[in-house]
């Protein structure tokens, strides 16, 4: 029985593990391996020397504390917003949910410009003196990532049984006590999962640190970029990549301890969202603050996109079907949008397929300690792509996937696969808390009534997992639409995605190209919002049939 169980699970895990081995482990180890070989001989001296440099320590320390603070800010602001948007009922909440995911997909280069238009000395927030400070970097990172916390925690909160909280309140607990002793522990798996993903996104952020920090601050990621693409100092880049991997492993071990799941034998019943009441004023106020933080740079973009030659106009949008002022682009922006959407469809089904399999494997109850540790390791393994530099991965693809049977270097699959790897941890983090929360006795009951494993999955797991699955699809789609780091290294042939095209436009002289970059960003933002809105509505309706 146990042997068969393990065999089935191993079978389920095999596909995802193989994909990760080929598209992640092989390229990254290939790139790091080059750092250890000097003049054709194995020589780890260079790598060791870099690890001892004071500059390396400074860079590592900055990365840890800036990403840590940004994660904290995202959690503190995201938690009340998750409550308001997923537990309270008011008109327009689906639209707000979709809008909050917009920053997540905007290219950093454009958001960097939008932020700096706000905070530089001549901008509306200029008197605060934020330009080029760590505060600006942390605000920028929070802007990008608060949506992850809101969405992941909100979905868990939405399917939380309200009765234990009501019971505690009936026994005289204050709302604060209910939150601390009942709600927070139940949300912990989702919260810790979201926070760890946000930390990894922040720690590997590239554009925000450089643009908003005025080049005064270096993170591990910016240092790897400089060492690899400009200096070709592979031993030093390898040293930093190893540091990244060690840091992520430590983080994941810590997270694994904190994420212990709630007791699944408690019966679950989803609460209907209710009208806001008087005690909700604090979370509502904080949600308004989050909306303001997210809206300000976006409004700057929208206003900029509607201006040309000191007048209000739609000219910047009309130009999107062209290749720009003096043929600034290889393809029109509208073509790039179609390419982006097609790529996102591919990346989404890949991420859902792989992420779904991993989630099932990881979330089943383990019979022995060894089995549990194996599942934990597997869970962590699929988080690794988030924490490793896109530069290392991109260059690694070039040098390792170049000969049969793996001559995939020029394959059109590479871009969606790379994007799916980035989206995968989000899919897993959204699904696992819900799957772990399903009482295994329900499956056993189904089995004893004669249902096969597939039938049991369809009747027990699928109805509960349906909504998180749809949410994860929206997440993966958004990640793919906005992915820039890995894509810019891989964008093949005449098929650039929209973020790549925006990046090209903004780097060109001429007011028309700047205006086009802004309007293309607004189009990207609007597309994302619409897709997420449709996905959310669809997910909401099907739950009604449970």
């Amino acid at each position: 029985m146990t042997a068969r169980r393990l065999l089935t699970l191993a079978g389920l895990a095999l596909g995802p593990v193989l994909v990760l081995a080929v598209f992640f482990v092989l390229p990254v180890s290939g790139m790091v391996g080059r750092g250890f070989v000097v003049d054709g001989r194995f020589d780890p001296g260079g790598v060791v020397e870099v690890l001892g440099r004071p500059r390396t320590h400074r860079v590592l320390w900055f990365t840890v504390w800036s990403a840590g603070l940004a994660t904290l800010a995202s959690v503190l602001l995201g938690l009340p917003a998750a409550y308001v948007l997923y537990r309270l009922s008011f008109p327009g909440r689906l639209v707000l949910r979709a809008l909050l995911l917009v920053p997540f997909v905007l290219p950093t280069v454009v958001v960097g410009v939008a932020f700096r238009l706000l905070i530089n000395d001549s901008g509306p927030l200029g008197p605060l003196g934020l330009d080029g400070t760590p505060v600006a970097i942390i605000a920028g990172l929070t802007f990008f990532n608060v949506a992850v916390v809101i969405r992941a925690v909100g979905i868990a909160w939405e399917s939380l049984d309200p009765r234990p909280g009501e019971a505690a309140a009936a026994l005289g607990a204050s709302p604060a006590q209910v939150f601390r002793t009942v709600t927070l522990p139940a949300l912990r798996p989702a919260l810790v999962g979201a926070a760890s993903v946000v930390f990894l996104f922040c720690a590997t952020s590239f554009g925000v640190v450089l643009t908003l920090g005025g080049l005064r601050y270096s993170s591990v990621e910016t240092e790897i970029y400089l060492l690899t693409t400009q200096l070709l100092d592979l031993p030093a880049a390898a040293a930093l990549s190893i540091l990244q991997l060690l840091a992520i492993t430590a983080l994941l071990l810590l997270v694994g301890r904190l994420r212990a799941s709630p007791d699944p034998t408690v019966e679950r019943r989803t609460a209907r969202p209710r009208r806001p009441r008087r005690p909700d004023v604090v979370p509502v106020a904080l949600t308004v603050l989050v909306l303001a933080l997210v809206a300000a740079p976006i409004l700057t973009l929208v206003v900029g996109s509607l201006r040309a030659d000191d007048a209000w106009t739609l000219a910047n949008y009309q130009r999107l079907t062209t290749v720009g002022d003096g043929n600034a682009l290889l393809v029109p922006v509208t073509d790039a949008l179609v390419i982006s959407l097609r790529t996102a469809v591919d990346a989404t089904w890949m991420a859902l397929l792989l992420g779904g399999l991993i989630s099932v494997v990881v979330s089943r109850r383990s019979l022995t300690g060894g089995e549990r540790r194996l599942r934990g390791a597997l869970d962590g393994f699929f988080m690794l792509p988030l924490g490793v530099s896109a530069v290392t991965l991109g260059f690694g693809f070039l040098i390792t996937l170049d000969r049969p049977p793996l001559s995939l270097r020029d394959s059109p699959l590479l871009v969606p696969v790379a994007q799916a790897l980035v989206a995968l941890p989000l899919v897993v983090r959204t699904l696992v808390p819900v799957l772990t929360g399903i009482d295994d006795r329900q499956r056993q009951a189904a089995a004893s009534l004669g249902a096969g494993p597939l039938r049991a999955f369809a009747t027990v797991d699928l109805p509960l997992v349906w909504r998180p699955l749809v949410a994860a699809a929206g997440f993966a789609f958004a990640v793919s639409l906005g992915e820039f780091g890995a894509t810019s290294f891989l964008a093949r042939d005449e098929h650039p995605t929209l973020p790549v095209v925006i990046y090209q436009l903004i780097g060109r002289p001429g007011g028309e190209n700047f205006g086009m970059a802004l309007s293309a960003s607004v189009v990207l933002a609007a597309t994302t919002a619409i897709v997420v809105l449709v996905v959310d509505r669809f997910g909401g309706r099907s739950l009604g049939t449970v």
Partner: protein, 354 residues
């Protein structure tokens, strides 16, 4: 059960859209191998632009299908070629510049090809490139630009030289992209090294930073956000940009609102070449020839904001009037740059982040 049916329908729908997207990626013959003789693959940086008409003209005249693979900047491009030199990702390259040229040659990335050059182009050959690995295609200068209207309005004389930028009159007025993150930023650092020498430039940068110079990540940040004539209406009237930039700030009344300071320029030259170990070296040679031909040369200013190397190529009207090239720009020996790049960038980081 209804969920299972819906899920199955969704999966089927996803598979259908996928197959069209993946097939769609393939149907212009960009899949690898097989008919290697018929197509020529150009590896280049992300700023590369070639109009549809020119691509078709090349394909018609040469009989090859052109595939363009653009990603990264000039540095990333060169380093990718170095890493993949045993098995190159294409046949020809465009976009290696005079700051990265000697690394590409020393690493044996290129195969020699002595293209027939147009009039004047030989002046731009990379010093030390005796085997003709690299063919010059375009040139441009990185120069300090000023907002003429701002200086007229404020009654301040415009700066002229690098040294002027450290004067109190120009305190907090200058913004430049950084040398570690931007190729014009690196060119500006090289200009200061050419002017002040290997031992003097650190002192110049200390004075420049003490005088309130601002650093940004890239050119677009400096020009569009901080420069007074940029898209965002910033508050700094002196910016690092190109000698061609004044042609993009014409005021519609026969003038331009900005000018380039021609005593502060560093010359950049971009090269094309045939990759060593190319599947289709003949096609790559045909492409290099096409890039120095008149039609491609005359399209360069509009497409990539650079000057042609062909002295006989006609310039667009705005360029002829407003984009003035310096007679005597700064330059450094490419071998010198290759040798000291890392040390200079480290020193620069230390000086500017103090």
């Amino acid at each position: 059960m209804r969920h299972l049916a819906t899920a199955a329908a969704l999966v089927a729908a996803a598979l259908v859209t996928t197959s069209c997207s993946l097939v769609g990626g393939d149907d212009d013959g960009s899949d690898g191998g097989g008919d290697g003789g018929k197509r020529v693959v150009l590896v280049t940086h992300e700023s590369f632009v070639m109009s549809d008409e020119l691509q078709q003209q090349f394909e018609k005249e040469s009989g090859y299908d052109l595939v363009i693979r653009a990603s990264g900047d000039a540095g990333a491009l060169t380093n990718k070629l170095v890493l993949t030199k045993d098995d190159p990702t294409g046949d020809a390259v465009f976009g290696i510049d005079n700051t990265f040229g000697s690394r590409a040659i020393d690493e044996g990335v290129l195969a020699p090809y002595d293209a027939k050059l147009p009039e004047g182009a030989a002046d731009y050959a990379l010093p030390g490139d005796d085997e003709h690995d690299l063919t010059p295609v375009d040139t441009g200068n990185v120069c300090v630009n000023v907002d003429d209207t701002w200086f007229a309005d404020h009654g301040v004389p415009e700066p002229q030289t690098l040294d002027d930028l450290t004067q109190p009159a120009y305190r907090d007025l200058f913004v430049t992209p950084g040398a570690t993150t931007s190729s014009p930023g690196l060119a500006f650092l090289l200009a200061t090294i050419a002017e002040y020498g290997d031992d003097g430039w650190q002192d110049y940068w200390t004075r420049l930073m003490d005088n309130g110079a601002e650093l940004t990540q890239g050119w677009s940040d400096a020009y569009e956000v901080d420069f007074t004539q940029g898209g965002g209406g910033g508050d700094r009237p002196i910016v690092l940009s190109y000698d061609s930039s004044p042609a993009f700030t014409v005021d519609g009344q026969g003038g331009t609102t900005t000018s380039a300071l021609l005593d502060t320029c560093f010359r950049q030259i971009e090269y094309a070449g045939v990759l060593a170990g190319a599947d289709n070296p003949e096609g790559a040679q045909a492409l290099v020839d096409f890039m120095v031909s008149r039609p491609f040369q005359e399209a360069l200013p509009e497409a990539m904001y650079v000057f042609p190397v062909d002295a006989g190529a006609a310039l667009p009207a705005d360029w002829a009037s407003f984009a003035k090239q310096p007679d005597d720009a700064y330059s450094l020996d490419p071998a010198d740059i290759a040798e000291h790049r890392e040390e200079w960038l480290r020193d620069w980081s230390d000086v500017t982040s103090r």
